[in-house]
């Protein structure tokens, strides 16, 4: 029984990590309806900035997180200006509906991510960076017979804060209202007088803030910080988002947790090399039975 409980706990902690990433990712997708391929790099940049701060000033962890979030917001702003804004310059109907335009933001964010990752690699090398050992948040904690680590508690707390904070932001504030309006119908929001540009920038800033914080915490959790660290979490976040139904952030979180659980529990039954297969198989099954994702709210098509 202990064994299963332990695997379950590990799965939950894995899921929370994916959820951290999925939250920011879903927020951005929800607003612009485009996949942000560069979110994984924002995550990585967050981790590297955090590492820089730690090795330079060695401040307490909270300060590092706050600084990283600020850096993340800044990067998000830059990302939006460079990779997404230039493609909104065409406002004629044909271009708005053109698929080619939407795919082009996909590619521009991909190009941005390539440049960012290669840049980090040139600056730091592609190996795992050495992290000062006292900042690694992986001191074990014994909880009712299963072992978790301090980092699990921190990540869980942060995920909860993010979720609750976002829900509050989206439903109780003007900013949130404009975000929801733009994600529902950008042209309509513009007609109603909402400054779509500023709303989009805000969304990117918030989403990237969360992504950067996620990168820092996961980097400290595993003690593994390297330029291509955002690639796999980016894919997992994407999968979680779609599985959850594109528009629902809590949905994405739940699906991220399901993904983590399925990976960990699968390892208990089959060799771990097939564990990813189980996660993807799960996704396909979900999509076959729930073509709009688990919590999708029948999005208007095109």
């Amino acid at each position: 029984m202990d064994y299963w409980l332990q695997q379950l706990t590990i799965g939950l902690s894995l899921g929370m990590i994916y959820a951290l990433m999925a939250i920011g990712f879903t927020l951005i997708f929800g607003v612009l309806n485009v996949v942000n391929f560069a979110h994984g790099e924002v995550y990585t940049i967050g981790a590297f900035v955090g590492l820089l701060v730690i090795t330079a000033f060695a401040p307490p962890l909270i300060a590092v997180v706050v600084l990283v979030m600020a850096a993340g917001a800044f990067v998000g702003f830059g990302l939006e200006r460079i990779a997404f804004k230039p493609f909104r310059r065409f406002t004629d109907e044909a271009s708005l509906k053109s698929r080619a335009m939407r795919e082009s933001t996909l590619m521009s964010s991909l190009a941005f991510s390539i440049v960012a990752r290669e840049g980090l690699e040139i600056a730091y090398g592609s190996q795992y960076q050495t992290v000062p050992l006292d900042y690694l948040i992986n001191q074990p904690v014994d909880l009712f017979g299963v072992t978790i680590v301090v980092g699990d508690i921190i990540i869980f707390a942060l995920a909860v804060v993010m979720l609750v904070g976002l829900q509050f932001l989206l439903t109780r504030t003007r900013v949130g209202l404009s975000i929801r309006a733009v994600s529902n119908n950008p042209l309509g929001a513009k007609y109603v007088g909402i400054n779509t540009d500023r709303t989009i920038i805000t969304t990117f800033a918030i989403g990237s803030m969360m992504g950067a914080a996620a990168g820092l915490l996961v980097g400290l959790y595993y003690g593994a910080i390297f330029p291509s660290m955002g690639f796999i979490p980016g894919i997992k976040a994407f999968v979680a988002m779609v599985m959850g139904g594109l528009s629902s952030i809590p949905g994405a979180v739940i699906c991220a947790i399901i993904l983590g659980l399925s990976e960990s529990l699968a390892t208990a039954f089959v060799p771990s090399v097939w564990a990813d297969m189980v996660a993807y198989g799960f996704l396909i099954l979900t999509l076959v039975f729930f073509p709009q994702g688990l919590f999708g709210t029948g999005r208007e098509r095109v």
Partner: protein, 335 residues
């Protein structure tokens, strides 16, 4: 009118002469097998980009798992050549058919998905196929890869040398691309385009959207499989990392940067993304970041692609002169 048709076939004739006569002459004169190798790789990826263009550019289905079918084709060809001793002429079409077969299997449950859901499903499927290639060691030899000792043999003549293989690859690629071209510039291609523009509308018009999607998907997988067979025989060694997600993204980038919806665009994109990193080797370690910047600039300045569909359709429009005329500078009908 006869002028326009003449000019179109002139373009094709020029391209063929270029491909089969001028380029080999230049490469032969320069005498470096390296250039032949790069040319072969460029052609294989041109075929991959063309096949992805069929499903993503024309039918509008964002496909994130294309490299997996490329891999199935390569492994089929390699396994048949090494385990069963089949000759190249037999393994190549079988590679295509095997890839198409798996595409049908995969397409059936997922065809009712739309846009981003379909994209994620193809991502998952691509990853699953990759994992099988990597871990099913009994059949695919897993990470050890497969070594082909036979190389490229046709009717007993050994054509493995790069300058001879060039002609084989060029022939197969040219024929395949011609087929894809005919498919996309026809009423069938129009039907596929209607899927991309508005599939609910197409459905209402009586077009069997599900069947069309499955067909487009399968056809693209067939050609990807052929490309895989070419790769296996010309390189002589294949292993799972050749067919991972990053490769799928590379092929997608070729199609989008070159111009979503235009076949010449896909070819240009493929040539660009294969030849540019090679050409930039001289600048050393910053070449990848330079490729990223070039890609970004290409998309920024030409968001509809280097040869966007618009210009490609203009070419076609001129061919059917008169049917879709521009009036007062305003295009009507197709964009």
């Amino acid at each position: 009118m006869s002028d326009n048709r003449f000019s179109a076939s002139l373009i094709v004739a020029v391209l063929l002469v270029l491909l089969f006569a001028i380029v080999p002459l230049i490469l032969g004169w320069l005498g470096r097998s390296y250039l032949y190798q790069v040319a072969n790789i460029a052609m294989i990826f041109a075929l991959l980009a063309a096949s992805l263009h069929l499903v993503t550019g024309v039918a509008g289905l964002l496909h994130l798992g294309h490299a997996a079918f490329y891999g199935i084709g390569a492994y089929t060809a390699a396994l048949l050549a090494t385990e069963a001793g089949w000759p190249f002429l037999a393994t190549l079409p079988t590679a295509g058919i095997a890839a198409a077969f798996f595409a049908v299997l995969v397409a059936l449950p997922t065809m009712r998905l739309v846009s981003i859901y379909f994209a994620v499903a193809t991502l998952a499927i691509g990853q699953m196929i990759y994992l099988v290639l990597l871990n099913w060691v009994e059949v695919t030899k897993g990470p050890n890869g497969i070594l082909l000792f036979g190389g490229l043999e046709i009717f007993g003549y050994d054509l493995s040398a790069p300058h001879l293989a060039y002609f084989v690859v060029a022939m197969v690629t040219a024929v395949s691309i011609w087929i894809i071209h005919r498919l996309s510039h026809s009423y069938y291609g129009n039907a596929l385009r209607s899927l991309r523009e508005d599939d609910q509308c197409a459905d209402a018009l009586g077009i069997d959207t599900v069947r069309l999607k499955i067909e487009a998907f399968t056809l693209s997988a067939f050609f990807a499989g052929i490309a895989g067979g070419l790769w296996a025989h010309t390189t002589g060694y294949i292993s799972p990392p050749d067919f991972n997600f990053a490769t799928s993204i590379l092929i997608l980038a070729m199609v989008v940067v070159g111009g979503l919806g235009s076949l010449p665009g896909a070819l240009v994109g493929a040539l660009l993304l294969i030849l540019l990193p090679e050409a930039l080797r001289v600048i050393g370690d910053i070449r990848n970041i330079t490729v990223g910047i070039v890609m970004f600039l290409a998309i920024l300045l030409l968001p509809k692609g280097i040869i966007g569909e618009v210009s490609a359709l203009d070419l076609v429009r001129r061919q059917l002169a008169g049917a879709w005329k521009r009036v007062d500078g305003q295009g009507i009908g197709w964009r």
